[in-house]
Amino acid sequence: MDDIVTFSHVSKLYKEQQALQDLSFTLRKGETTAILGGNGAGKTTAISLMLGLMTPTSGEVTLFGHTPNARGVKERLGAMLQDVSVMDGLKVGELLQLFRSYYSAPLSFERLMTLTGLTPNDLKRRVEKLSGGQKRRVNFALALAGNPELLFFDEPTVGMDVTARRLFWQTINALQQQGKTIVFTTHYLQEADEVADRLLLFKQGTLIADGSVATIKGSLALHVISFIPGSGITCSMCAELPTVKDVQEDDGRIILKVENSDRVLQALFEKQWNVNGILVSQGSLDVAFETLTKGEAI
């Protein structure tokens, strides 16, 4: 059984709004998947469905071949969610011990401490007295407590400082080596780019791209063509050119984001437009991501 998470035709209506629309994908064992998208794209909803915190309005979600709330499924997963504060009134060590008791084969204290960077001193402190960054570490430790095969992180690095962030990704790397299946959501393309094998790009509740980082980069990366327009050349005219995704005007130059720069240049010459100082450059994945998730293509 190599299919760890499957979504088949999953839709979710949430507070009378379509949060997810007809979503289908499969996550395989050992894969690290990044779910990317802007605010309200449906990332957290997708995670909540996987964890059984929500049930789909239609379609089916399975984890390890069972429904997410089936017996034994929770034993095999760990999660770090957004906006979860740790239980107060306990010391960090006591809380970890409590969580370890939930699982049949938990990780040892020593392992948890090395993986998360918690110090013996931290273990003696009350959870409510921790700083935001330390709380995130505790949350991370709780997610790992049961030595799970499948790990979920919803916006894991929000509120982490640079050191904590680096340690977090190092640990994720070590977990990847052990063959764990990892799913995380992020706003930052760079994180996804560095860590994930696979990207799922969400926009307004639909999956607009699914593939390896390299493939998505290749297919999505837009080229940028800019020039100084002569009289009579307007933005709306430029938008009519082939494969143009975005038109902007900045500092007297018109800047086009295009899928195929060859065809645009060809069209420019054929039309014999009055333009000067043409520059062509390779767009970054960031640009593509921004165009895809935020603005509608013109």
Binding site: L51, K74, L81, L90, E94, L98, S101
Partner: protein, 246 residues
């Protein structure tokens, strides 16, 4: 099983470390007891009877308070902090989570009862038969159920502040009007009649009856069980309604 014991242990630790518990369930009742049996002398025909009566009042006050305040407030807080949500991702079944809360709350009540009884015994040399001590303790322990259910009802509220406000008003209001702070004899006769319908008065009456050599009356039990069912039904109804929304 280890999971359940660990959960109870964690809940107990949290309850004992809670300043509210130590202050309102132990310090305040003990201070009041000291005040009204040692400092301020209340003209009573039988001083010894008053010492026993007021000891029961304060124990009932203590247990009623932690029943209303602890569970309800904990539930609201844990929900507001996303904790309840998070536990659903772990193998801990929510039934065990609730059961551990109930068990640890009961253990805390046992501790409160023992401490306050001991204080009475030491401070005013109260002499009761073993059966009266144990009978009163059992009554106070078991009949805290309606107040735990009231706590659960408060526990369905969304905002921590609203829940805290309402719980405080209910708790102090019920304590005063139920004759736990001062005997209901001091109230006007019309008020006295109304007071008889309050769960806190019925709760206290049972303990007062046991320590004066009587049995709690059927009407006391019936009214407390009635309140228990009422609060349970209302909180379950609200809970179901909230689940429907999510």
């Amino acid at each position: 099983m280890t999971m359940f014991i660990a959960q109870c242990q964690a809940e107990l630790r949290r309850l004992f470390r809670n300043k509210f518990y130590v202050i309102w369930s132990l310090c305040v009742p003990i201070f009041f007891y000291f005040l009204y049996t040692k400092i301020i002398s209340i003209p009573m025909k039988n001083e010894e009877a008053w010492h026993i009566h007021y000891l029961m009042s304060m124990t009932v006050f203590s247990v009623m308070g932690s029943s209303i305040m602890s569970i309800g407030m904990r539930l609201v807080q844990e929900r507001a902090f996303g904790w309840t949500h998070y536990l659903r991702v772990t193998p801990l079944p929510s039934s065990l989570y609730f059961l551990a809360k109930m068990v640890s709350q009961t253990l805390i009540h046992v501790v409160s009862i023992i401490i306050i009884f001991l204080v009475g015994y030491v401070m005013n040399d109260i002499q009761l038969t073993w059966s009266s001590w144990i009978g009163a303790a059992c009554w106070i322990l078991v009949m805290s159920l309606p107040f735990l259910a009231l706590g659960l009802m408060i526990g369905t509220m969304k905002s921590v502040d609203t829940a805290a406000g309402i719980a405080n008003v209910l708790y102090l209001g019920l304590a005063i009007t139920g004759g736990l702070w001062m005997p209901v004899d001091v109230f006007p006769s019309l008020v006295q009649k109304m007071v008889h319908y309050l769960p806190s008065y019925q709760y206290g009456s049972g303990a007062w009856a046991i320590t004066t050599g009587h049995y709690p009356s059927l009407s006391m039990m019936a009214s407390l069980i009635g309140y228990f069912l009422l609060f349970m039904v209302v909180s379950l109804y609200i809970h179901k309604k909230q689940e429907g929304v999510a």
